[in-house]
């Protein structure tokens, strides 16, 4: 509190004002979502205020019970597991590839790098059909394999490229220190690059979590059994364009599903912002 008053007095009030106003614009939809989750279905679209005329927890109860005895909690667990595996896969495979591209020399390196970038440029709607056929032949449809397996093979060029850029920002002189001690590429990877590229790894964690959590199309295609449903499939369950929609339940579950995302982000961003990064550069 004292610090806030301090900055106020020192004329940074304009910055503060902007930040607060901006902040409100950022979370306005969140406020709307949360308030709608406490309103009954018939009221949601009729009134514009944040305070529900009729406060109800029915949406949460109805939404949580899910369908046919499979609760939303089950969907959360499924998604947590899926996301955890995806994060591990991405970190390992993408960092290996990024290290190779950024620090090692080998034949055709630039060609492979270009190819990696190109794979990101093809819209997935056209590769999804042959990919589905492929996974179907392998009998992996209606499991999590099609969603998890690619993560262990650095299929998401976004993270490879991200890590490449971070690694390239690390001065080469530091490599010398490791080499002088007699370390080979493995040591370089494990002891120098990985720790220094921690911001990139954390970023990868955050984004993999959020994108996998929110991913819809692939999950919809590959998972058809209720017990395997993830959160995003569960949320879609409440809507049907041809009939009635359970808006309240959907908003309630959406609000709940934002919580893990928010928590993960807040938790990890502390490492991003409050600088584990600067540690080893001084040595």
């Amino acid at each position: 509190m004292q610090r806030i008053l301090h900055t106020w007095k020192h004329g940074k009030w304009l910055t503060h004002l902007l930040i607060i106003a901006g902040g409100f614009i950022m979370i306005y939809p969140l406020l709307w979502l949360v308030s709608a989750s406490f309103k009954p279905n018939t009221e949601i679209f009729k009134s514009g205020s944040f305070i529900p005329a009729t406060f109800t927890l029915e949406n949460y109860r109805y939404g949580w019970q899910g369908l046919s005895g499979v609760t939303f909690g089950h969907f959360f667990l499924n998604t947590f597991m899926l996301v955890a595996v995806c994060i591990v896969g991405n970190i390992i495979s993408c960092s290996l590839a990024a290290f190779a591209f950024a620090r090692l020399e080998f034949a055709l390196r630039k060609v492979w790098f270009a190819l990696m970038l190109v794979t990101m440029m093809l819209p997935f709607h056209v590769t999804i059909i042959p990919q589905y056929i492929m996974f179907n032949q392998l009998d992996m449809v209606n499991t999590y394999w099609p969603l998890m397996l690619p993560k262990f093979f650095a299929v998401e060029g976004f993270f490879v490229f991200l890590m490449v850029q971070f690694i390239r920002s690390i001065p080469r002189e530091l490599d010398e220190a490791v080499k002088i001690d007699g370390g080979g590429p493995f040591k370089l990877y494990g002891y120098l690059i990985m720790p220094l590229a921690l911001p990139a790894i954390i970023t990868t964690t955050i984004f993999t979590f959020i994108w996998t959590w929110n991913d819809f199309f692939a999950q919809m295609l590959y998972i058809s059994e209720l017990k395997l449903y993830t959160v995003s499939l569960g949320l879609r369950m409440f809507l049907d364009a041809m009939g009635q929609n359970q808006w309240g339940a959907m908003f309630a579950m959406s609000t709940l599903s934002l919580i893990p995302l928010f928590v993960v982000f807040v938790f990890f961003q502390r490492y991003l912002i409050e600088g584990i990064a600067t540690g080893s550069l001084k040595g």
Partner: protein, 297 residues
């Protein structure tokens, strides 16, 4: 064996060892679908029966397709307007939040909240609420005496509401910028302050040059992703492409052609053409990088 050759082989072996997961993935998981889609682009393929070779027919038809030209136009506007705007915001906010002022930790999280929504139905609903004929935006405008307008449902403004949506969800590049800013060694700032450099000079001489690799990353990635943007247009226009195709993004049209009209061959040719366009733009960006991106290698 010749020691130089031995070394070269060893280097290559190590390189390929680290690269192997990716390479395996490329050959085992990605290559087949990618090549298959290329094949489809030369066929008429309705997904229910076998593909039928028709050569360059799809490509030729594309250039004569008015909707295709329109979707390309819509996408180009989205990319060249949306990406710079979003990145400027992202960098500005990242810099603001990087100041180290304690009380602002919550704000960092708050500024990321929009990006948590992703492409959810809730966002689409809200956007229509905000920008519709009787939405919040019009309400505010009328308060200050300006006339309202149906921003989200008028062909001349609908696309811009989607650009606003993109800018609003600047959290992802912002986080990446924050990570990059954190990598700039604090000693450099201290040293320059001793030399009497002000904040602006610090930004231009220290911060910006050192984060150019990440700026470059964000520019390239946001461009590639913006060209393929699908979800915002899909959820806000409910799959229609907006009033009079004004929000018919390229991949949305592609999706319609493939899944709704059962013309997967045409969709595939659209995809490959897009790939060429994106590859071209990316190559230009990479070429330009030599001028302004600074690696500490």
């Amino acid at each position: 064996m010749n020691p130089k050759l031995k070394n070269a082989l060893k280097r290559n072996a190590v390189g390929y060892l680290f690269l192997s997961p990716w390479l395996l993935g490329l050959i085992g998981l990605s290559a087949l679908p990618i090549l298959a889609s290329l094949y489809f682009s030369f066929t008429r393929y309705d997904m229910l029966t076998a593909p039928d070779w028709i050569g360059l027919e799809n490509y030729r038809a594309m250039f004569g397709d008015q909707k295709w030209r329109n979707s390309m136009k819509v996408t180009l506007i989205y990319v060249f307007l949306g990406v710079p705007l979003q990145l400027i915001f992202a960098l500005s906010v990242a810099m603001m939040l990087n100041r180290g002022i304690r009380g602002l930790r919550i704000y960092r999280a708050i500024y990321y909240v929009p990006s948590l929504f992703g492409g959810s139905v809730a966002v689409a609903l809200l956007w229509r609420q905000l920008f519709g004929g009787e939405g919040l935006v019009n309400l505010l405008l009328r308060q200050i005496g300006l006339p309202g307008y149906n921003w989200i449902a008028s062909p001349d403004t609908a696309l811009y509401t989607l650009i606003v949506l993109k800018v609003w969800q600047f959290g992802a590049p912002m986080v990446i910028f924050l990570a990059a800013l954190k990598q700039v060694p604090a000693e450099l700032y201290e040293a320059s302050r001793i030399d009497g450099a002000g904040r602006w000079k610090q930004f231009w001489r220290i911060t910006l040059p050192l984060i150019t690799p990440i700026v470059f990353f964000n520019v390239v990635m946001q461009t590639i992703q913006a060209f393929q943007a699908f979800t915002p247009a899909y959820i806000v226009s409910r799959g229609t492409g907006g009033p009079l195709d004004s929000t018919l993004f390229y991949t949305l049209y592609l999706y319609q052609k493939g899944f709704t009209h059962f013309q997967m061959g045409y969709a595939a040719s659209m995809a490959w053409l897009l790939l060429i366009v994106i590859a071209f733009v990316t190559a230009m960006l990479f070429l330009s990088a030599r001028r302004w991106v600074y690696y500490q290698e």
